[in-house]
């Protein structure tokens, strides 16, 4: 996670406010809070959390539970985007992982056996990592544009998932498998713990070691970082594998949540939501700078938006238009130029360091001029 820009000005209420609004997480969090508040008139007890069926229950719990897979996929995507790449294959990887794990479990005589479930998960995740290795290989070794390289598995992967499930929805009845995406532990959804672990490990690896800096260096200028001695190809392959692993865990969660593998629909379009979450979280699509914390908030924003659409009674035909309108508003609010024009200099003063939602051609990013910013 990036640290807040240090302010040297004397601590006055104004400067504190300014420091707050300049924090890279300020706008994503503000949007999240706003979206949550929108729900209150429609769902009076939106923020209340009670016990039901031996676990905590409430809208906030649902948002985190259903948002978990998206958070995972988006965290993986963040690192890929930080290297100036993009991974469109995550949705297909979600489908493959779920399909493999569920079809393995459904072949077991005792579906509840822990060893079988662990083996199934291992198989699924192995397949996911192999997909990531393939993506990384194409991008880093073969020099194929990331958007094209990952498109291959995006299209073919769903077909593979359907082959595994034979075009059917595989329903399983396995208590241990149900835990990871639909179960509860210590009264909280178990998926929260999985997400927390992945986020902590990611932040730890990227910010407590030099790894994050290396990733940003590769994203800033792959050739320059190679010349200073960074093995940029290896870093790239690694981030694609990590991204696929995250997608694989998300795939286990999604299939576990409904105790079924649906090769056709599992993780459909999740790659787009994940990219959106990354952008809302303030990671530049040009690469070279990333914020895992921002991505988590971004994913929660998207999940909250989805829940909001369900609860405030937007007619189904206008769902997507509504979603698009909110996303446009969010992106505009994050743009310093837009804020400066509308609200005056006070909000827009962060200048170029503000994470703008840059709809840039990421494919060109690796060749672009040095633009590294360690924030």
């Amino acid at each position: 996670m990036t640290t807040a820009p240090a302010t040297t000005a004397p601590v006055t209420p104004t400067s504190r406010w300014r420091a707050l609004t300049r924090h890279h997480l300020f706008w994503p969090v503000a949007v999240l809070v706003l979206l949550l508040l929108v729900n209150v008139p429609f769902t009076p007890d939106f923020f209340s959390i009670r016990m039901a069926d031996g676990h905590l229950y409430g809208s906030l719990v649902s948002i985190v539970l259903f948002g978990s897979p998206l958070i995972l996929v988006a965290v993986g995507m963040t690192l890929v985007i930080a290297t100036g790449g993009i991974d469109l294959s995550v949705g297909a990887v979600v489908a493959i992982t779920g399909a493999l794990a569920c079809s393995y479990i459904s072949d077991q005589s005792d579906q509840g056996a822990l060893s079988g479930v662990l083996l199934a998960m291992g198989l699924g995740l192995l397949a996911a990592v192999v997909c990531g290795l393939w993506n990384g290989f194409l991008v880093a070794r073969m020099g194929i544009q990331p958007i094209i390289a990952t498109l291959i598995i995006m299209v073919a992967g769903r077909g593979v998932a359907q082959l595994i499930t034979d075009g059917q929805i595989i329903t399983i009845n396995s208590e241990p498998y149900k835990l990871i995406g639909g179960g509860y532990w210590l009264t909280l959804p178990f998926s929260i713990f999985v997400v927390a672990a992945v986020v902590v490990v990611t932040v730890g690896l990227t910010r407590r070691t030099a790894l994050g800096l290396l990733v940003e260096a590769v994203g800033g200028n792959a050739e320059a970082s190679r010349l200073v001695g960074i093995r940029s190809r290896r870093i790239k392959i690694m981030v694609y594998m990590f991204c696929a692993l995250c997608a694989g865990i998300a795939g286990l969660m999604i299939s576990s949540n409904t105790s079924a593998a649906d090769g056709n629909n599992a993780g459909l379009w999740i790659e787009l939501d994940a990219i959106l979450a990354v952008v809302i979280g303030g990671t530049s699509l040009l690469g070279g700078r990333f914020s895992v914390g921002g991505t988590v908030v971004g994913a929660l924003v998207i999940q909250t938006l989805t829940t909001t659409i369900y609860t405030i009674g937007v007619p189904t035909q206008t769902n997507l238009v509504f979603k698009a309108a909110v996303v446009i508003a969010v992106c505009l609010m994050q743009s310093p130029k837009f804020r400066a024009k509308v609200f005056g200099a006070r909000f827009g003063s962060r200048g170029s360091a503000t994470p703008a939602a840059a709809p840039a051609d990421s494919a060109a990013a690796t060749e672009a001029a040095p633009k590294m910013e360690v924030s």
Binding site: F42, D53, T258, N265
Partner: protein
């Protein structure tokens, strides 16, 4: 080390490509074309939408089995949800001079050109499952398929029975899980249900929330979880398919309520998992949407070939199931 890694990735790539090729194949093997004595065997060209759901695979199996049963020479192809594949399959059938062409159209429009070619070649066309919009009605002979609007009506009718059986008193607050926005089954099932509701239960029934669950379990679960928060007083769920109902059941259970008791559930389709849920008492009634239209199709094909006139729309034979019939019907569910 490096070469081994490269080899591994290459192997995966080859495997994936092989898989793709495998699903694109056209199954041209004639199923049971036992030429019976003097009478010429009927050759039927059938183009299926794809294999996107359990319902669809049951549909495919039914057509193949029925063709074998009837002793027809079936040329089957899978369009993988793409209209261009389907059009080229139909052109192939025209070139092969089959006796009758049947297909489940992927989309509603864009069929005029290829259907005119079939007409020029004097090959009758039968639609199955879904309809098309054409400029010229003579381009196809008949449609063998379900009446989605009627399924909606039947769902409303069976809900009456469910309410009586449960001894329900007071307002009926309905949550509706719609199918994919814009899809014919979603639009027409909602329409049929509303028709009966407005005509006969205007005073006490009300759809309080309605949202699309995209015909998927995950969609049904997520939307229902949100409904239960915003409208905790919902006491009836009408789902446009079983999969969404199954997802919703999980959300209802997570909220600490009992599906089938606290919230009465009516859904459409009748897939096996739906029947399993119904036999567990979690779904109250299912309106069947029957994919097993193979025998009816073969019947129609024979009539069309013999030049008999057939109805414009031959509706599939379907029934409704209440909970007490679930256990008995479960073993015979094929899909």
């Amino acid at each position: 080390m490096l070469s081994r890694r490269n080899f591994l990735t290459a192997a995966v790539g080859v495997a994936a490509a092989g898989g793709l090729a495998a699903c694109a194949k056209e199954d041209d093997s004639s199923t049971g074309s036992s030429s019976t004595g003097g009478a010429k065997t009927i050759t039927l060209g059938f183009s299926q939408v794809g294999s996107e759901s359990g319902w669809r695979s049951a549909n495919t199996t039914s057509v193949k089995d029925a063709a074998k049963e009837a002793g027809y020479n079936l040329k089957f192809s899978d369009a993988q949800q793409k209209q261009e594949n389907q059009i080229s399959a139909i052109r192939n059938y025209i070139a092969q001079k089959v006796d009758v062409i049947a297909f489940s159209p992927v989309v509603v429009t864009g069929w005029d050109a290829v259907l005119k070619e079939a007409k020029a070649a004097k090959i009758p066309v039968v639609l199955t499952d879904r309809s098309v919009e054409t400029s010229d009605d003579s381009l196809y002979v008949t449609l063998v398929g379900s009446d989605f609007t009627d399924e909606g009506r039947r769902a409303a009718k069976i809900l009456e029975k469910v309410l009586t059986k449960a001894g329900h008193k007071g307002a009926v607050k309905i949550a509706q899980l719609e199918g994919t926005t814009g899809a014919a089954p979603a639009i027409e099932r909602a329409k049929g249900f509303k028709e009966i509701m407005d005509a006969e239960h205007k005073a006490d029934w009300k759809i309080v929330v309605s949202q699309t669950g995209d015909f998927t379990r995950a969609g049904g679960k997520q939307v229902m979880a949100a409904f239960l928060q915003s409208n905790p007083d919902v006491n009836v769920l009408f789902a446009h398919n079983d999969d969404m109902a199954i997802g919703a059941i999980q959300a209802i259970e997570a909220a600490g309520k009992k599906p089938g008791t606290d919230i009465l559930i009516v859904s459409i389709d009748g897939v096996k998992d739906g029947f399993v849920a119904m036999s567990e008492g979690k779904i109250n009634a299912i309106v069947e949407c029957n994919p097993l239209l193979g025998p009816q199709l073969m019947d129609v094909v024979k009539k069309v070939k013999d030049g008999e006139t057939v109805e414009r729309w031959i509706k599939t034979e379907e029934s409704d199931f209440m909970q007490d019939q679930a256990k008995a019907a479960l073993p015979s569910r094929k899909y």
